[in-house]
């Protein structure tokens, strides 16, 4: 008797637990997963945007969820997708587009673009940022927190070396010549101050794409099913990077850590560095000397990849939620909000008309380096992105690191990388 009562009670509790999520919801609630990849009070800013959006759109509730790094956010979104309960919207790397399409996890943005106003919005972004947002004639993500690679230089050290502190190197040859003047060898193969450094830990392919674009090469096709790692231009680009440390000895040997590169710059251990525009605010706050921000030097041409995250809408979310998420995406990328986002974080405002807003005009007048990333966008190319992106990218990363540490010659390293990428991609054609 007692036992039966106990079982009954247990069953009652269990039934209650199952029934709970089925309760009717009056308002449309959307979830928004976002990563934090740069310094600053990002979560607070996003929470503010969500609250403003709710005020302007009665009946819609936005639940922003800080989900860790880009990688962790992707894991959470895809795990949710596979279990049938994904977040309505998320910010993920623009390069994860093919992965998300292959997993059938995202809905094309075009599905929600109906009015002329929507169409104008879709056309309002910098074309360079749309390169990683489109494939097969469809737009899959809206540019949101986007960046690019730029060069930072220490004006004090330039002056010390007898160089014009206002003039960064404009070509590959100048880059080497300047770096040679800026390097202070320590007599035993090292240097107490390097001329320049380009980080190569973690994701060396991204910075390498600066070199390849400048050499006139491209790394992949638009369909994302073919790579060109072993083309002569790509090998030339890698040889140049390797030569900086091996031949000219103006760049630290081996793998240069991404995370400590800004610190090396603050400590005057390197006179020039290549890194993301996302570090702009960090450098501005931490550098105890006047510094400049410039476009990457040109080889055959100027060039830099774009980077950063896009806004995606989940395919499995209910229609009403998807529509609300689309509204939220539009809300986040109005000229004014994109401008404010740029000022607060250092990301590049994603649309040209943002730079005509009062907020950004004032910011650029006060801090001209903020406009360099925008000016460089005309030379920017799509970031390396293919099907099975992480695997294909790793093939290149491994080859780059092998060449930079001297275990393989550049040509051999790129041949091996291409063979591995070919093996992975052949089944997608």
């Amino acid at each position: 008797m007692k036992r039966r009562e106990f079982l009954k009670a247990t069953a009652g509790v269990a039934a209650g637990l199952i029934a709970k999520p089925a309760l009717a919801q009056s308002a449309t609630e959307i979830t928004f997963f976002f990563p934090v990849a740069v310094g600053g009070p990002i979560t607070k800013i996003i929470d503010g945007y969500a609250a403003d959006f709710e005020k302007a759109n009665a009946g819609v509730k936005v639940k922003p969820v800080y989900a860790g790094t880009y990688q962790e956010t992707l894991i959470k979104v895809l795990t949710g997708h596979k279990s049938g309960n994904p977040p309505t919207s998320s910010v993920l790397l623009s390069t994860d587009m093919f992965t998300l399409i292959d997993e059938d996890a995202i809905a094309p943005i075009d599905d929600f673009v109906k009015s002329d106003d929507d169409k104008a919005w879709l056309k309002s972004f910098f074309p360079a940022f749309m390169l990683n947002s489109r494939t097969g004639g469809k737009t899959w993500g809206a540019p949101f927190q986007r960046s690019t690679v730029v060069m930072y230089w220490n004006k004090e050290l330039f002056k010390e070396a007898g160089l014009d502190p206002e003039k960064p190197p404009a070509t590959w040859a100048e880059q080497v010549a300047f770096a040679q003047k800026l390097t202070k060898p320590d007599g035993s193969g090292g240097a107490s101050q390097w001329g320049m450094q380009v980080p190569s830990s973690g994701f060396p392919y991204w910075l390498f794409q600066g070199f390849t674009t400048q050499a006139g090469g491209i790394l992949m096709n638009e369909a994302g099913d073919r790579t060109f790692y072993d083309k002569p231009e790509v090998i030339e680009a890698l040889s140049y990077w390797v030569d900086l440390s091996r031949k000219y000895k103006v760049h630290p040997p081996g793998i240069v850590e991404w995370g400590t590169t800004p610190k090396d710059f603050f400590e005057r251990k390197t006179a020039m560095m290549w890194t993301t525009t996302g570090n702009l605010t960090n450098v501005r706050n931490s550098a105890k000397f006047p510094f400049g921000v410039g476009m990457l030097p040109a080889g055959k041409r100027r060039g830099s990849p774009t980077g950063g995250g896009n806004f995606y809408i989940s395919k499995k979310a209910p229609k009403a939620q998807q529509e609300a998420a689309f509204k939220f995406a539009r809300f986040l990328t109005t000229p004014e909000r994109a401008a404010q986002w740029c000022v607060d974080t250092g990301y590049v405002a994603v649309r040209p008309d943002s730079f005509d807003t009062e907020a950004l005009k004032k910011y650029v007048a006060d801090f001209p380096p903020a406009a360099v990333a925008r000016d460089q966008l005309q030379y920017a190319v799509a970031e390396l992105s293919t099907h099975e992106n992480q695997r294909v990218t790793k093939a290149l990363n491994d080859g780059l690191q092998a060449a930079l540490t001297g275990t393989k010659a550049p040509a051999q390293a790129m041949k091996d990388s291409q063979a591995e990428a070919e093996r992975i991609l052949s089944r997608y054609r």
């Binding site: 990688q71 894991i75 895809l78 992965t99 292959d102 997993e103 059938d104 320590d186 035993s188 193969g189 090292g190 107490s192 190569s200 830990s201 973690g202 630290p252 040997p253 081996g254 793998i255 240069v256 850590e257 995370g259 400590t260 610190k263 090396d264 400590e267 251990k269 099975e388 992480q390 695997r391 790793k394 990363n397 491994d398 080859g399 690191q401 092998a402 930079l404 540490t405 275990t407």
Partner: protein, 291 residues
């Protein structure tokens, strides 16, 4: 009736722990084993039975072999050194020396710190030019070296971090075991005129063997379970020089989303560890003196 009731009671008491174990340990292990014989499900092509194909892919994967070799070196380098260090430290702080609580605490601190914090501290130690190591060596006129950025030194560097963290943890077990040894044994051997080393070799060390076995099994498991500091410090680079098996599983599973291949590698790792643990018991157990 009372016996059935007692049995039901017993099972009910066991139920919470069993449910948790089954749900979070046994079922995932079994599911992983089953998954390793199927292809990775894709929207266009659901999972289908592929037999041993995933294992064949692994055997063909040079990075798998490199991770395995790295991991064996990692185990070979970290296990004996951290156990020896732990024993040495335990013997030292077991004696009545001034400030021993402070020293014990200092030795144990690395164990308390989270691995991510440790990795970040050591990242600074290893930084070329102005890192701690570079500054100390620089004072002796030795040129700065890119410790983590070179294939020759990166693996050794991450091994040192693991030893630093592990040794303090194992020391605690040795310390506890040392305090269990009756002081009368030390007095007796002192009366017999045994040297300190002789006392250690013939009395302390044999009595510590059960602890050594326990520590050894833990050390082996830990050597194959380390992944946090690799992610922070090197991401398996340069060119996979510091890629360990568990890191490779993470990479296959959560970077490449090739869950089947990751499952196959997990099974390989599990079977390998089970064999090692079994061998340790079978080989060492009979040789150990239990009181």
């Amino acid at each position: 009736m009372t016996r059935t009731r007692a049995a039901i009671h017993g099972w009910l008491l066991l139920l919470p722990a069993m449910a948790l174990l089954a749900l979070f340990t046994h079922w995932p292990a079994l599911a992983t084993f089953i998954d390793s014989f199927y292809s990775t499900p894709r929207p266009i092509r659901p999972a289908h039975f592929v037999g041993l194909a995933n294992y064949a892919t692994l055997a063909d994967d040079p990075i798998f072999w490199q991770a395995l070799t790295n991991n064996l070196w990692f185990a070979l380098g970290t296990i004996p050194v951290s156990i020896a260090l732990a024993l040495l430290m335990a013997l030292w702080v077991n004696d009545r020396i001034a400030g021993r609580t402070l020293i014990r605490m200092a030795y144990f601190t690395p164990t308390v710190l989270p691995m991510i914090a440790i990795a970040n501290i050591w990242l600074f130690f290893y930084t070329p030019q102005y890192g701690l190591l570079a500054q100390v060596l620089g004072a002796f006129g030795i040129a700065s070296h890119n410790w983590l950025g070179s294939q020759d030194t990166a693996l050794i560097c991450v091994m040192i971090v693991a030893i630093w963290k592990e040794a303090g943890f194992f020391m605690i077990f040795y310390l506890a075991a040392l305090q269990q040894i009756p002081p009368s044994l030390a007095e007796a051997s002192a009366l017999e005129g045994a040297s300190r080393f002789y006392y250690f070799r013939r009395i302390q060390f044999p009595l510590l063997m059960p602890t050594t076995l326990f520590v050894l099994i833990n050390a082996v498991i830990n050597a194959f379970r380390t992944v946090d500091h690799i992610i922070v410090m090197t991401h398996g680079g340069p060119d996979n020089a510091t890629s360990l098996l568990l890191f490779r599983i993470y990479e296959l599973g959560f970077n490449f989303w090739d869950t089947s291949l990751a499952s196959a590698l997990t099974v390989v790792l599990l079977v390998g560890l089970a064999l090692v643990a079994f061998a340790q018991w079978a080989f060492l157990e009979p040789r150990i003196h239990y009181r």
